[in-house]
């Protein structure tokens, strides 16, 4: 399993198709604005960094899994690789 992080909407637009089905997608920084996207909750690979969401005053639909920095560290240790996509 590979952990793909996206730090902006543009990064997701450019590289959102790259993660495989068994990978995880973590939205951080301005990437969290993607929670406004309908149907995002249906993608079981999506994780959103709760702190970055809070900082922007956003609420995520309940179907979306929010994670803490500690969860991120755990995911990092469990992943084969972490790949950051920027844009």
């Amino acid at each position: 399993m590979i952990l793909h992080t996206f730090n902006s909407l543009n990064a997701y637009r450019l590289h959102g198709h790259r993660p495989s089905d068994h990978d995880l997608i973590l939205l951080i920084e301005d990437g969290v604005f993607l929670v406004g996207e309908p149907n995002l909750g249906r993608d079981h690979r999506i994780r959103v960094l709760s702190e970055d969401l809070d900082q922007r005053g956003l609420r995520a639909p309940s179907a979306i899994t929010l994670i803490s920095y500690q969860d991120w560290v755990r995911l990092t240790t469990e992943s084969q690789h972490c790949v950051s996509w920027t844009g």
Partner: protein, 118 residues
């Protein structure tokens, strides 16, 4: 030998990412197998630069790509879709990359021991 994969997604010129990635790849070649994967605007690094170096106050480091085989870096890859999106087929390139589909890129990432994004 460790396999390092460099993913380059930034264009040259506007930031130091491209140049730093190149320097890091050369340094890494001393102790690892290096593969370089150009994606999105990163593939624009492959276009042969026509810089008046003095005017732009930066080195046209991309000419250094020609030296990559001397550093035992043979694996120069580019996302086939990005290559097409940026019309590289009609551009004059410093080096010709091997074009990879998205499934091939996923396999490349899985095979690597470490992945570095620039």
């Amino acid at each position: 030998m460790t396999q390092l994969l460099f993913i380059l997604s930034n264009p040259p010129g506007s930031s130091v990412y491209a140049q730093e990635a190149f320097d890091a790849a050369l340094a890494g070649s001393a102790f690892s197998n290096i593969a370089m994967l150009f994606v999105a605007a990163g593939c624009l690094q492959l276009i042969e630069p026509r810089l008046e170096t003095a005017a732009h106050q930066r080195k046209d480091f991309q000419r250094g790509f020609l030296a990559l085989p001397d550093y035992d870096i043979q694996d120069i890859f580019c996302c086939a879709q990005s290559y097409k999106d940026h019309h590289l087929q009609t551009a004059s390139l410093v080096v010709q990359p091997a074009l990879l589909s998205q499934p091939e890129i996923s396999a490349l990432i899985e095979r690597a021991d470490s992945v570095l994004s620039f």
